[in-house]
Symmetry: C2
Subunit: 413 residues, 2 copies
């Protein structure tokens, strides 16, 4: 595949996007339902492609698990598509309208972004999820998945495109870059046809996209989340929240990586929280003060405070007060999700006001930062930037606005 | 000034931003009123600095006019600040709130972006405007104006910072990069402390920022706007709108650069529209078909269709139908403002649905794309991108959201 092929994909995507943008909601929903059926009907072929990918893949079991498809997982992807069909159409909305002083009627409509680029790792489910969410929101999508999942993604894209064609829909609404070279990925990051590029994956991928791309990017996913246990915290609640945020699914971005604890309760609380974490196999690292309380905590290095482990590891710091906790968080967090456990009204308010993050929790686990848990019914990623979308992104994050202005001959004085 | 000094400015700005974000609306308004008074009190010194800048400046009269300050213009800038004080505080808002299935109360609050970077040309008024809008929205601002206005900007920033200090407010809420080197400008585009960088100025400046910056950018201002005169258009309305959009203020981004006209009315309408434009000194360029109707129109080259003249020049194209007009616009526009003049209901609808631009007008001049004309009471720029803000940006464009979540011990199942 050449750079010119990529440009052609962009042109084709723009054309498909304009067609999708004019489609009514019922049509889009019916397309999604048919795509789901055809996806399930293609299970045998999809499985065969996935087996081929698996035979070439590295042996890291976490990696393998993300790459693996099963008939059940394919059925789940189809169910996800049917679920997207039931969600409200984010582009069927006029946000607001008003008449200006010159008598113009100005309406602020929600419209699709146009062409969405997705760049992600070896997770074939992202291929189907992104296709469904983009189609529902009236966007064409160009997908560039990890090389290890290439055969699976090619087959998935083939099934979806065939289904669109059969339905009389422009198949270029869903396109896959079937060349996994880095050179082409870089060209993708400069592709003018893209209205937005969304990277999904590890910190390395995201940073490469942010540094390279000249098209607008929505940064997602890096999560160095903290739980701060205040002096007024209920101990059992603190244990429950810290353990849940750390161990319930340690590989994801909304799990907690750091524990901060107020020095006045550290001697009492820390041994109990540490024991609870260790009973779930968590490796503990910590500062000097925490190691004075629980002596076999591994010394944390400066690097630990900025590291997202995505693993059963947690670093602990004893802080003298609320403001120190906030200052530490603002200096080291990724602006994703932060939590305080407290019974102090003023401390809760101060924490929520001063911590700079997409989601700031009082007395709850950071694991709730998720499009489904928030009630959005879908998720295209979790934005860690402040522009356009912040926090869990549902269908609405795939739209922009258009001012539609109706006059009767107005000119500017 | 060194890269390290710039990093220190970023750190100072972050600190100031956190203080501003906690300030109540009345305090911010009172600060703005005092800033306006002190600005007027500094008129003599500001004028002296501006005279120094003028003595060094190039001779292009358009350029000189933008650089020039007068006591009246300083009074206008002060009046603008007082006007900003009367606007609603965009961060005093909770957009919405709900309880999720786990019983968490999730509130979506409006919060300041944090640190705003502005990079602009030799227009000292942008220094004051941006400072006022950022302060009102709770953001710290780092300003980097054109080198030709350096003395003026230094004096303006000095007056504003002194005033803040006198009022007991952290003066680092308003900082100016007093070194106009390109090397430092480039470092500014990578400054991690920036939550957003907004370039204001010509297409070259904006493209340089978009290509260089690794911090989030909001593209502003490039405007290659079209007026399409449909076959059903009222001739007099078409003349009024085309003339207004072209000549009322040709140097700005929302003025029209291109005229498209339906072939079935071209022979009748074009000579009259051309005569009206020429009576205002407009140079006409055009395609073959237009030159067959008005023979002394200068031949347009391919480059004309993509050029923003910012001058009394207009290029004309005769199109066979509405769809050709829309296709031409979508291929050449800058996604800014486009207009149709028509009395045909279906044509109006199709044009507004299919043209990809921030503002799509029926029967009105594109010159209305403006924060004040829209009723926003202020304008920090006009976004031509689809992310975060699109079209005229008022105070709200300088905010983001924060999810503030209150629970009573919820953990994820």
């Amino acid at each position: 595949m050449t750079a010119n092929d990529l440009t052609q994909m962009g042109i084709a995507a723009k054309k498909a996007a304009q067609e999708l943008a004019q489609m009514d909601t019922t049509s889009k929903n019916n397309i999604l339902l048919k795509l789901a059926d055809d996806l399930e009907a293609g299970t045998t072929h999809i499985m065969a492609a996935n087996v081929a990918d698996m035979n070439h893949a590295a042996v890291d079991p976490k990696f393998i698990d993300r790459l693996r498809l099963t008939p059940e997982r394919i059925a789940d992807m189809a169910a996800g598509m049917r679920q997207v069909a039931t969600l409200p159409d984010p582009t069927a909305v006029t946000d607001r309208g008003w008449r200006n002083e010159a008598g113009l009627q100005i309406d602020q409509r929600r419209v699709p972004l146009g062409v969405v680029g997705m760049i992600y790792e070896a997770r074939p489910n992202v291929t189907v999820d992104a296709a469904a969410l983009c189609l529902k929101s009236g966007n064409a999508v160009i997908l560039r998945g990890g090389r290890e999942a290439l055969a699976s993604n090619e087959r998935l894209a083939h099934v979806l495109r065939k289904s669109l064609e059969k339905q009389g829909v422009n198949p270029d609404a869903i396109q896959l870059i079937a060349d996994p070279s880095h050179a082409l990925a870089e060209q993708f990051m400069h592709l003018q046809a893209l209205d937005v590029l969304i990277p999904r994956g590890g910190a390395n991928l995201i940073q490469r996209v942010v540094k390279t791309a000249t098209v607008p990017v929505i940064e997602t996913g890096a999560g160095n989340c903290h739980i701060y246990v205040d002096q007024s915290a209920d101990l059992q609640m603190a244990i429950d929240i810290v353990v849940n945020a750390k161990v319930q699914r340690p590989s994801v971005c909304n799990s907690a990586e750091k524990l901060l604890i107020h020095e006045s309760v550290a001697a009492d609380y820390l041994p109990k929280i540490a024991a609870a974490l260790r009973s779930h196999g968590v490796e503990l690292r910590g500062d000097e003060a925490s190691r004075k309380i629980v002596s076999d905590i591994i010394p944390a290095t400066a690097k630990d405070w900025d590291t997202e482990y995505n693993d059963l590891i947690m670093a602990i710091k004893v802080v003298p007060d609320l403001n120190s906790a906030i200052a530490h968080i603002n200096a080291h967090n990724t602006k994703h999700s932060e939590a305080i456990v407290t019974n102090d009204y003023a401390a809760a308010q101060t924490f929520q006001n001063l911590v700079d993050a997409a989601c700031v929790y009082v007395n709850a686990s950071t694991r709730f930062t998720d499009g489904f848990e928030f009630g959005f019914g879908a998720e295209i990623g979790i934005s860690t930037q402040k522009l356009h979308a912040r926090g869990p992104m549902g269908l609405n994050a795939l739209t922009t606005i258009k001012y539609v202005i109706n006059g009767n001959g107005q000119v500017r004085k």
